[in-house]
Symmetry: C2
Subunit: 245 residues, 2 copies
DNA sequence: CGTCGTCTTGATTAACCTCAAGAGGTGTGG
DNA sequence: CCACACCTCTTGAGGTTAATCAAGACGACG
């Protein structure tokens, strides 16, 4: 159990190092963080909208989704989180949530106290910048989603989501961009791209019959990455934020 | 001229203080920042997509827009910036832009070197957290936009944008939520909410004839705030991020 | 074997887009 | 000072995408 927590923290450190250079002392500080492992069954809410939280959640296993609920009951998913992602690192500086967090599949989380993270940010300026940079990736994806949902048709939206999740799975070391587990249903994809599940189904059918990509049994297989990326107008830049200097 | 730069920096400090408590030393550090004032004519690009930038832009006067360009030439606006807003504070930790920035009206900006801001973040941990928190507001708005565009009809989307800009104008001290300058055209509103200008026109007409809100001559007047907020399912929470503790 | 969640398919409807044309206002040059 | 060009807003008609309504098939699991 403690071993798993340590593995999770290492994954988080690896993710930070993807985008930020950290010295040995700072790396040790991250590795020294304490957290509590928690399991969630599929479809369980992790954080409810409007809650004040005292800890951030690091995804250890499974798929998490951040969502916004409308009055008529419909949901909009605003982010997916993969293992290694800190779902709500931004809550360290904004602990009252406007959103909710759900385990889309069975999931394991590591809860880390805000106080500990703030202490690290105070003590090590490089870590403060690294945390800030990490949440900026989140914002960058969000900005892409706005453009995706606002200005593209159903086909391009779904293609874009598949490209994004593929590349992120590859970066997280849990798959390749052309073959990866995506633990969502067609209904959840619909909630993410602003469509109905029925329409998502039809679009996935055409992508499948055209030999571009297959999404089945919660697995995505991309037969023709270039074609999929072209349909999506996908560019990798928004996921690969360069470090300054 | 120098006086204007000082005024602008004070506005930025006021904005930070809305969400973060800062000691006298830290406040003095912000006031001591140096910047260069630049004027832009309406419709001029300030930052192009893919550029590497070395400074952040503080909005002094006018309206700025961040956008994403599609291959067919259509644009999606992903953020509006009002006086006092630091358009691209996140570029301090991610200096290669995936987006562009345009002056939607004639605008005055104050450019502040990333190096200076990073130096402040390094020296004053409270400022690092304050900067981080400021960009979190941006992400919070972005997340609302995703839900807005993804799950609401044209009427609700436009109502939501009017509510948001009204409240932000009020918070920035440049208007009230029911009467404020919004220096956009119907076409720009369309680019922000993912609709065509023609449809925006029709929706604004109905809102006007129903006595809910009037948008004309780049001014918004809300006759019935409660009604508008109800149409939009607007809640103020996402703009008012609480500070921890 | 039956139930439930998920996927699939068809038919109809509604929201929004596209194309087209004209009106009002403003700035500019003759 | 008028004429013209240009930008923005407005209105109409018809087309398209995606939503809605409805029903069934498939597979996993108790």
């Amino acid at each position: 159990m403690l071993g798993t927590a340590q593995t999770a923290m290492d994954a988080f450190l690896r993710r930070l190092l993807l985008r930020s250079a950290l010295g040995p002392e700072e790396q040790a500080a991250i590795r020294g963080l304490k957290g509590q492992l928690i399991e969630f069954a599929a479809r369980r809410d992790v954080v409810l909208p409007g809650q004040r939280i005292e800890h951030a959640c690091l995804t250890v296993a499974g798929l998490l989704g951040r969502f916004d609920q409308m009055k008529d009951g419909s949901r909009q998913i605003t982010a997916f989180y993969l293992p290694g992602d800190m779902c709500d690192l931004h809550s360290v500086v904004a602990p009252v949530t406007g959103w909710g967090l759900t385990a889309l599949s069975g999931a394991t989380l590591l809860q880390i106290a805000h106080a500990d993270l703030r202490e690290l940010a105070r003590r090590y300026p490089a870590l403060a910048l690294a945390f800030w940079r990490d949440t900026t990736t989140d914002a960058s994806i969000l900005s892409k989603w706005v453009a995706n949902i606002g200005r593209k048709d159903a086909r391009a939206r779904i293609a874009h989501l598949l490209c994004e999740m593929g590349l992120r799975s590859e970066m997280a070391g849990i798959g390749t961009r052309t073959a990866f587990r995506f633990d969502a249903t067609q209904e959840l994809i619909a909630d993410a791209v602003g469509l109905t599940p029925i329409h998502v189904n039809r679009v996935l059918s055409t992508l499948r019959s055209e030999g571009v990509a297959v999404f089945r049994n919660r697995m995505a297989e991309v037969q023709d990455w270039d074609r999929l990326a072209a349909i999506a107008e996908f560019s990798t830049a928004f996921l690969l934020l360069d470090e300054p200097r």
